[in-house]
């Protein structure tokens, strides 16, 4: 057992856990954050994507022992109450959500992309979500939403 302290969705948290527990299980079981989904457990589908120190990571591949001092953000932290983050709103407006199982991971991968590269081109968008599988949408409307969000944020920042 280790006594683990890290930042979760902006708040300092501490939890007693085995060092070998996967981050996804910590989030879902210990913190009740079920927005993070499991699709494969081997780092292939991206449904479990969360932000770790602002980078998109597969939470099924991160172990508790790696978390000390890290800052983790999950899909639950994006909206402020009823106010959706522009990415979330654009996902809805562009029809980028069907079953929605890939959606939290997809949005967080997009978030990490825009954080690093505010004006990505189509190839860069494709690259950023290439690790997030979606079986429903064919990706087109997802890419449109990311592009629209980038444009929107850029015009605001001008």
């Amino acid at each position: 057992m280790i006594n683990l302290k890290f930042k979760l969705n902006g708040e300092k948290v501490s939890v007693k856990t085995e060092a070998g527990v996967r981050l996804i299980d910590l989030l879902r079981n210990n913190f009740g954050l079920t927005g993070t989904k499991e699709g494969c457990g081997v780092g292939e589908c991206g449904a479990c994507t969360v932000l770790m120190n602002k980078k998109a990571v597969n939470s099924c591949l991160v172990l508790a022992g790696q978390l000390a001092g890290a800052s983790i953000e999950t899909i639950e932290s994006l909206a402020e109450g009823e106010m959706l983050h522009p990415l979330q709103r654009n996902f809805l407006e562009h029809g980028a959500v069907q079953c929605g199982y890939c959606t939290p991971g997809m949005i967080l991968s997009a978030y990490a992309l825009l954080d690093e590269n505010p004006s990505p081109d189509e190839e860069e968008i494709k690259e950023a979500i290439a690790g997030n599988l979606c079986r429903c949408t064919g990706y087109k409307q997802i890419m449109d939403s990311i592009k629209a969000t980038a444009d929107e944020l850029n015009s605001k920042n001008k």
Partner: protein, 793 residues
Amino acid sequence: MKKNFSVVGRPVIREDGFEKVTGSAKFADDLKIEGMLYTAMLRIPETHAKINSIDFSAIEGSQYLTAICTRNDIAGIKKIGVIKNDQPVFCGDKVVTPGDVIAMLAGESEEELHKLIGKIKVDYTPLPVLTDPLKALDENALLINEEAGTNLIVHHPLRKGDVEKGFAQSDFVIERKYTTQLIEHAYIEPESVTAIPMGVSRGIKIIGSIQNPFTTRRIVAAVLNMPLSKVRIEQSHLGGSFGGKDDTMCMLSARAAVAALKTGRPVKIRYTREDSILESYKRHPYIMNYKAGFSKNGKINAMKIDIIADGGAYVSMSPFVTWRTVVQATGPYLIENVHTDVRAVHTNNPYTGAMRGFGSPQPIFAQESLMDEIASMLNLSPVEIRRINGLKAGDKTATGQTLQNHDVNLLTVLETAVEKSDFTNKWKDNRENKKILFEPDFSNPVLKDNDFIRPEDSIKRGIGLSVSLRGCSLGGEGIDAAAAYLSLQSDGTIYLNCGLAENGQGLKTTFSIIAAEVLGTTAENIYYLELNTGITPDSGPTVASRSTLMGGGAVKNAAEIIKQRLIPLIKSEWKLGDEEEIEFAGNKVSASGKELTTFPGLCRLAYSRGICLAAIGWYKSPDVHWNEENGQGDAYFTYVYGCQVAEVRVNIVTGEIYVDRVTAVHDAGKIINKLGAEGQVYGGVTQGVGYGVFEEVTHENGLIRELNFDTYTIPTSKDIGEIIPVFVEGDDANGAWGAKSLGEPTLELASAAIANAVYNAVGTRLYNLPLNLEEVMLGKKLRPVNNKRGSLA
């Protein structure tokens, strides 16, 4: 027909969207209940084996074990199935395919349960394995299901005209063989279900990723030996299904329910991806022999088709899947003489059942490849051959059905696609540029000193197309009716519910749009209730792209019933004459252009006058009929038409195909939900490309090799280029304003269009899916020597 729509056909945000983008949507595995138990399955790594004994003694008494469930715990039927009860909930004396489960452990820690599984001793004797579907009907073939006495699951014959005469009248006769592969649905959410015991008098409640709650209810009730009304099924948000969360979810629900009753505690089953791929059913591999006779002018006179579908170890949906095949096997062409036999057979391979497309992608690959091959023999273009043979209004299909009462838009979708993609010019250009500057020598593929391939020479472009007609809804498969419940509240908001299930396709949104359109309000005013078999009327399964057509019809009916109750009230309240036209639009009610009140105002008034504001709408399909003996009859009550054009680049050095663009033209009738419809096209085409180019579940002696996404690859954002959806909205008297089906047609066409595009690019005809590197380079699949499948041996 209503012409001016205010909500229909415009972008509307999905009904369940907010929850899904914020992570608050509850999927099956997100459910947690105090005191709930988890499970682990006992299987053996064998395809076919006799179980001699199971020794649980090493784990009995373990603190981590709450219960062991075996077939002895089942009060009702011990074998289940959506059509035939042949799949054991827990196997007794034998396993017939590697996904089979012998027993299930329940306890508080999944992790500890998995350790316990390893300590159980199963004594078994491996049996010979049947993996070749072509050998399944041999006289001495081993029997997968001994009680059935044969490995034949079903045989659908179709006889029209006289094929021998047709061949005799033809200038040319060709015979070709096509094969398609086993593939996985690959919904991103693996299966999960929780069963909650409600006490002796109240039965059991089941919540899970269930595609067809009413089927699941029927099966669970039979397994528990309980009346239907004591089994309540609630659907969680479903993380994709594509036809795949039916049988498997019935099975898991039954197991969870047995364990819940045995332990008196809620029991959750959650599958890993490996469990899911191992145990769930898949798409049927087909082996298809086509023989076609045609005249010099391109007219097809006769077609003889023989198809074997590998049904695997269980019947599942095979009879219906192959029924659609027999109806559609000749494609959308007018052919006088047809002789088709479609058989599904048992093997020890992973079992196969319903999957988006449902028995159509396979024959479309064959028949559309064949049409192109005939065209090129006659020096006709792919467009010309289809113009000559394509079905028009009033023509008779292979089943003898006259196409009528709807716009028969086959040639319209073809011409639209040809024009939008500039097909003819590109097709000619590619053909002329086909000459390869450097021909690699495959007998000795090592480059010599002076050999040099310029990158631009190694890439060839191609364009190809395919067309289809598709029968809507269930047709001759069974009872076809759906119900919807609509209830107006006194403040103008509305509850809506339908017996068809939201599987991610966006049905809640589509239904909300339809109700809003009739009542002149907005989709945002509609609150969609979750499907619950305790409240919602049974509407049959959510399959066959029937939800918009059938459920949409029921929702429209419910809204109209209520509207008909409101109109007399309006007339008497505002003292209007009979001739005055009442209009519901923009959240307002007006008479002959003059606004009377708002929609909420009307609801308040109606409520205060004691008018019943709830109604159940019903939509029953027109009758169809079918003769099993000769495959003749009106198979479906209406049809949709589609044409897809694929533009590809083929790397002649590696055999790699990249799909640059797919133009997808569909007549799905009236488009209700625009964003949703486009989403169906993007998603369906992408699945179609995966099916066409690289997806395949392979197995060695029935043991699956690809058990997770590291080896089973589905398209990523980088695997596909542009997709251009185009809708041709043909008129149809059925459904809500003629809205029909779209989900499946989008998937069925791509593989054939790609194969035809490859031919256009490099001049090689491909006969086996997927069109992966080895198929493109060698025209066959490379497999371990001991694993040649029937079609390839």
